[in-house]
């Protein structure tokens, strides 16, 4: 039974592949995202760039606002709960959201434990910086993994670092002989059976998406070429000067990520991207990616 439930969760993640998932804060933005060709929207009260600027505790969005977005669009609606806040996750499940992001963008509710996601019927996505973190989240029941990147920074460097790290560790597992697998699993803090799965299959057992810092069509193409199967765009769309055009352009660039002419054409008519942040200018304690483990 559990296996079938998990198959259904991963199934929805499969349907989102090759697409763009966009952060939206109200029904109008959700409509813009859907019209641009988003495969899903992430409903949240403040986009990461604003959470970063305004500070304070960032919590699950209000159910009323999530419901309004659910009514505005026909594509899947995702929403975020705080790390470890299983009661927020229960509320989101009661609302019937299609995917829950247990997200470092919100202020963590539990600094030790993540949600035991197998208890839920709604699938979860979780962020990671490396393979060990990805596999710990999958063992807790995540049906989709995304890079953490550095949300709200408009800077792609952290997403690239995290994607390359995960892909690099997947490659190195393939070179291990059977004597070396247990030590490798111990060193990255991952369940042995998932490390064995990767050694055999050369990829994660769940879809692997990119998030955190995507601001341009070329950023989306870069992440797809590095092995992401879909991209999340948070602040990048609605913090730009031309959200509608930019949303469309990122969708087209994601479909044609291997075709530089198409990515070029998609980028041509765009205005200014969101202003970005140099990562070293962010105080260590304010890095969102360091939340969770």
């Amino acid at each position: 039974m559990l296996e079938k439930e998990f198959q259904l969760k991963i199934g929805l993640a499969e349907m989102l592949k090759g697409g763009v998932i966009m952060d939206v804060t109200n029904p109008d933005q959700a409509k813009i995202a859907e019209d641009a060709g988003a495969v899903a929207v992430m409903a949240l009260e403040r986009i990461p760039a604003d959470i970063r600027a305004q500070g304070g505790v960032a919590r699950m969005s209000s159910p009323k606002m999530i419901r309004e977005i659910q009514q505005a669009v026909s594509i899947p609606v995702m929403a975020k709960c705080r790390i470890g806040h299983f009661a927020e996750a229960q509320v989101l499940q009661a609302l019937g959201v299609d995917f829950i992001d247990e997200s470092e963008v919100l202020t963590p509710a539990d600094d030790i434990n993540h949600v035991w996601k197998h208890d839920f019927k709604v699938p979860f996505v979780c962020g990671c910086r490396n393979l060990g973190e990805a596999l710990r989240r999958i063992s807790e029941g995540a049906a989709m993994i995304r890079t953490k990147g550095e949300a709200g920074s408009g800077n792609i460097v952290e997403a690239v670092r995290h994607m390359r790290k995960v892909q690099g560790e997947i490659k190195s597992i393939q070179t291990l002989d059977s004597h070396e697998v247990v030590a490798f699993a111990k060193n990255i803090g991952a369940p042995l059976e998932l490390v064995m799965y990767i050694r055999e299959n050369g990829k994660l057992p769940v879809p692997n998406f990119a998030a955190g810092g995507v601001a341009t069509p070329a950023d989306a193409s870069l992440m797809m070429q590095l092995g992401a199967e879909t991209v999340f765009v948070g602040s990048g769309i609605f913090k730009s000067s031309d959200p509608e055009q930019r949303a469309k352009a990122i969708v087209t660039a994601t479909t044609h990520y291997m075709d530089p002419d198409a990515v070029c054409k998609a980028s041509e008519a765009l205005g200014d991207a969101m202003p970005g942040l140099e990562i070293s200018s962010i105080p260590e304690g304010e890095l969102l990616q360091n939340r969770g483990w």
Partner: protein, 189 residues
């Protein structure tokens, strides 16, 4: 061995390509008309139908796909079914109208209502059970005279076809049971 195209604008096209390859055919990911004409048959995968139809129009593929579907076999699964249907009840977009059927999107509800269940499948004149995966699935709410039901879940038609076009509301590409792909690739159209 034939070359089977999988429309790869968005969705789980890789899963279809894997099923095609397992059955000994070669697969090609179709993102433009040049790769479309190279395909002997075409599969339109699961995914988000609104995203796919927008990309079809934005990339000027509508006319070519309609022309293709009038002469060569096409199989649409879930979102792919919605794309080839003649009428979508609860959506603003105009589908390709390659098969005479009405469809209602997300007819069972949201992801929490997605399910796996046995369906009764009739292919090559034989009736068998098949375990089908329904994800935010559409329902066929009406079929034209030319459209033949090929599978039922309870009282709902979940797979149907005319001379050229095969559709399923579920996802044969997400299971290891390759009977439906085998039917489309080797016994259909």
């Amino acid at each position: 061995m034939s070359t089977i195209g999988v429309l790869a604008l968005q969705g789980d096209f890789e899963k279809h390509a894997q099923a095609i390859n397992k059955l000994g055919h070669s697969s090609v990911l179709v993102k433009d008309s040049a790769s479309l004409v190279k395909s002997d048959r075409l599969i339109i995968p699961g995914g988000e139908s609104t995203t796919m139809i927008k990309l079809i129009d934005r990339l000027d593929l509508r006319e070519d796909l309609v022309k293709y579907g009038k002469s060569r076999p096409v199989f649409g699964t879930c979102a792919g079914l919605i794309i080839v249907a003649s009428h979508v009840e609860n959506s603003g977009f105009t589908p390709l109208s390659l098969i005479d059927l009405n469809v209602r999107r997300n007819a069972y509800g949201r992801q929490i209502n997605s399910f796996i269940d046995d369906i009764t499948l009739t292919t090559n004149g034989i009736e068998t059970l098949y375990e089908a995966i329904f994800i935010r699935a559409p329902k066929i709410t009406g079929c034209g005279n030319n459209t033949k039901p090929l599978a039922y879940h309870k009282n709902d038609i979940v797979m149907a076809g005319n001379e050229n076009i095969l559709v399923a509301t579920f996802h044969p590409e997400l299971t290891d049971d390759l009977r439906i792909h085998d039917f489309f690739l080797n016994h259909f159209g």
